[in-house]
Symmetry: D2
Subunit: 347 residues, 4 copies
Amino acid sequence: MTKKINIAIIGASGYTGAELVRLLLTHPHANIALLTGDTQAGKKMGEVYPHLAQYDLPALISLEQADFSKIDLVFCCLPHATTQKVIAGLPQHVRIVDLSADFRLADVAVYEKWYGHPHQAVQLQKEAVYGLTELAREAVKEARLVANPGCYPTSAQLPLIPLLQDGIIENSNIIIDSKSGVTGAGRSARQANLYCEITDGMSAYGVASHRHAPEIEQGLSNASGKAVMVSFTPHLIPMSRGILSTMYVSLVKGKTAVDARQSLSKAYDHEAFVHILAEGIWPATHQVKGTNNCLIALKEDRVAGRLILVSVIDNLVKGASGQAVQNMNVMFRLPENTGLQFSAIFP
Amino acid sequence: MTKKINIAIIGASGYTGAELVRLLLTHPHANIALLTGDTQAGKKMGEVYPHLAQYDLPALISLEQADFSKIDLVFCCLPHATTQKVIAGLPQHVRIVDLSADFRLADVAVYEKWYGHPHQAVQLQKEAVYGLTELAREAVKEARLVANPGCYPTSAQLPLIPLLQDGIIENSNIIIDSKSGVTGAGRSARQANLYCEITDGMSAYGVASHRHAPEIEQGLSNASGKAVMVSFTPHLIPMSRGILSTMYVSLVKGKTAVDARQSLSKAYDHEAFVHILAEGIWPATHQVKGTNNCLIALKEDRVAGRLILVSVIDNLVKGASGQAVQNMNVMFRLPENTGLQFSAIFP
Amino acid sequence: MTKKINIAIIGASGYTGAELVRLLLTHPHANIALLTGDTQAGKKMGEVYPHLAQYDLPALISLEQADFSKIDLVFCCLPHATTQKVIAGLPQHVRIVDLSADFRLADVAVYEKWYGHPHQAVQLQKEAVYGLTELAREAVKEARLVANPGCYPTSAQLPLIPLLQDGIIENSNIIIDSKSGVTGAGRSARQANLYCEITDGMSAYGVASHRHAPEIEQGLSNASGKAVMVSFTPHLIPMSRGILSTMYVSLVKGKTAVDARQSLSKAYDHEAFVHILAEGIWPATHQVKGTNNCLIALKEDRVAGRLILVSVIDNLVKGASGQAVQNMNVMFRLPENTGLQFSAIFP
Amino acid sequence: MTKKINIAIIGASGYTGAELVRLLLTHPHANIALLTGDTQAGKKMGEVYPHLAQYDLPALISLEQADFSKIDLVFCCLPHATTQKVIAGLPQHVRIVDLSADFRLADVAVYEKWYGHPHQAVQLQKEAVYGLTELAREAVKEARLVANPGCYPTSAQLPLIPLLQDGIIENSNIIIDSKSGVTGAGRSARQANLYCEITDGMSAYGVASHRHAPEIEQGLSNASGKAVMVSFTPHLIPMSRGILSTMYVSLVKGKTAVDARQSLSKAYDHEAFVHILAEGIWPATHQVKGTNNCLIALKEDRVAGRLILVSVIDNLVKGASGQAVQNMNVMFRLPENTGLQFSAIFP
């Protein structure tokens, strides 16, 4: 492949936008052709993100100024609820990876219930492909519109879906206790996310009410063949990047941790980005920082019939922009790890 | 009470020792009379902890140099396994609050199983009182030897014991997902606890194998009247102080979150240090930093019949040195909050 | 003294307001009678600062609702430029400690130059006392209006003023390189102060243009008897509290580091809060966290005739609210360390 | 160039060794052929650094087991004082980039004075090239042994050397106030570098006695033609990576900040890694995190005739392993930025 993919990033002034730029700058087949950011329109990217000042990048323009005629692929990084209309208005020739939550829920009634307003692009929703790449590769290949998964749902579904598909774990009594770095909250100036409010402390939030719950449940229900409801609690941790999810599940009678390990090995041993750790090794978010990797560990609990799993991802990479690039690679028939082959940055 | 309590701190060079000094320096009835620290013997406390350099404190001496003849109370902050023999060798007139794990497990067989060697002071174990103050006040009052609870067990037992005692929650299927600051790991020079290994990342550890599990189970079993086994996973968070425990439990058929809230209110509304938060308010570790408080919040899960609780403490205060001072106050018939009435330090 | 001081805090919703509340809650002669906060009016203090929720405090009201008739002392924590008019409007019987920059510069022309608008309470300025307590105790005692010093100026003037007064150091070629924690930036929701923008990195700001420069120069000029101009660079450090200032000065010919040490000892050996460290000991901000202390160390440079000094304070305590309480104690003839005698919180 | 460079890393278990691995893994002409680490011999690199577990790397062996016969280049990451003998014992065909301080000081008497023992490879010292790449490129090209500069010296010399060479600033009265992240202290288990000892606080260290002072002075003296002595104070900041140096210098009479800017532009405008920021823009360490860049800003002080400069680097990259790879590229006639072209990772 010699021709480069002409890429537009809509909503490039947020953290996921900046992370896409970081990844695409060294991607051999990407050409960052267009950056929009309504509140920052007119600024250079290096003014909004000084760490990018040394690069030759298009200036930020407003969405309405954008000309998509030569664009091959749009990454859409807008907040939810604004995205549906914007994507509905894009020309038909562009393919889209949407990083918002707007097209992730196949059932528009579920969307309406959790987001508080009717879905505004019901027809588009029907063709959207939920892009958890490892588990949806063939559909992503052909998709015009990929709904890039949420960060928490990526960390939970990668370990749990194969176990449900293979009948290793029960579809009830699933507890997902997730811990996230603060980049997940975005770059908006909110008092709650000030340095002094976050550092050296932690809290739970969205207990039994976080919008990623139905997204997780959609994936697990599809895998299990029955409606699954999960206990899901996210927590905010004083770190920039990283999600660690600790999952407590029930083994199907007769199944063991060995079966669970085999199921996950079967699903992921040939994968570039998902790695099952050897018994007794537990992952840290440090180990995936800056990478598109997901590390998974598991162990039988002391409580009979219970299994504990831990997964880690970098929420900005595998949980957002990295998986978006991975999906782009699939859509454009590139090797899936193109531009994503760097090691974690530690310490 | 005019006479001051003459206090010895054995193992004063660790973080819990330094925290005891901080708390006792402004305690109106405490006289810090003796500090031991074998590896630091001969040094001033201000050399070991420069933040204490402005205070007139006894120099650190070795344990064998210590004269306990005028000591009323010993706080013992030694590592587990060394403590049993040391305490057995103390003169009979001193009362003891032991901050190690050595006397917390009433059943010496359980101790031997988890700690890998026989208990070395079996007779003393029989008289030891497990000092979760709010729930053991009367016994603490008369005790010669108080086993000060562990940090994780304090955070888990305070919310769960009343609910089990009152028959609000089932004694099975209890999940305790705990997150701790790094002071819990102590001041020993270990590579794993270096700044660069910890900051900006997190991990689980001791999955299904942490020694605080049997301590929690002992308390919950006593409360429930049946043997309880819990799923317990601790995590290491990049913060100095604080524990947040997220607990997932099953309501007894017919019981609701309202019943749970009433049970906890009944147990703690008259307490100085344990506070049940109003519905919809969730605690952060910031809110207890430097204090002896435990904050508890709860909510019925979306999954029918499930309840989620969150508790926070400062692991060095209510989880160690503060509860030790609280126990001293009870033992010496002082108002329980004497010397413990400061607000959290935030930000 | 049995009657308590009735205290109003104007602008109580910022970090310095919250810190005043923390300090005054355990002050034996303080009664927090009135809290104003225009943007938060109607809320309980515990809603704005959950770590204060357990205390019985007056609700926040707007300034115009405030009744000062029974107030003895006002702490004013408003942003600069709004303060002059507010204080001018207070009834004559109240005494005031102002934590803003509005009354710190005796020369209203200097104020106008650095703040870009004419001083709005010129008469009041004439009676304002600059409250660097150790060096202005007698004037503070009688003052109606105390201008509480800035955080950087406190850290720089305490070490440098005695050396200039005693003719130990030259009044030229003074370099002050200061490093501050993020609480200095206040609680306003600004993108630049988000957790992810601050953590794990640092920067200089206000290079050769920070408004604390003229405040420092005022104090040093008074001490030296000649106009002093300093090189002053502040830096933002990923920590909540603390200022460390590194100062590079020239010794007057014939003077040595020994003379400098004697000068500082003479000035501060009898002080409760300012401590000169022994040779070879250098201070860390940890050692003053939560306290009203200032630690100072010094050493002759390898470069002949040059002296290096390092000072540390907690910017929210000795650099703001603690020094304000210290000034209150002086104004009301209380022992100067009343309510300020706790040790640093570490770790 | 098709043949890969066979590389050995001696002392690969430290942070600079791990960072070399990170950089070389994606370097198109590097083959990591040999890793030594005496204390970790026998372990896989992924056991010592779990973030590298997904890569196929040679296991760590002891130095005495190492066979250098097929090695083209050695990166030596041993602690100082052990390095001289080790390098003296390497076969003549290997070229060496030494990251220790052992060959940085051309004058072995200066080495002996600051390191407390005689230089142990005096002949080798004579051929060693001090590898501040931008300013020593031609010599590096031909060198067998490159002494890779220290982190602080890199941050100070890059801005100051051109200004001295061009006669813009005086060679006296140079103050360098440097702030470093904690990776600079290495991975040894020392109490002082524990998370809880470092986080949320800062301190100065090595005041007027740090071993990087003579290294800086060597470079500045060579540039100036006269012996230069500097005031240099390093500080430890709670961040993993990054050095920020604030420099206060005197302009030669008649010279201005404009001249200084021109001098630096002339020196660096054609460089890939050194960037002079536009007036009014000040750098943050965030902007170079993970990169080999050095950003420099400058401004005339309010004090007449004084200039303030700020530089930032990533201490593990441009301050150590990145500059080492840059030197390797020069030595092997590769484009200098080969393998070093990634953007900073932020946030």
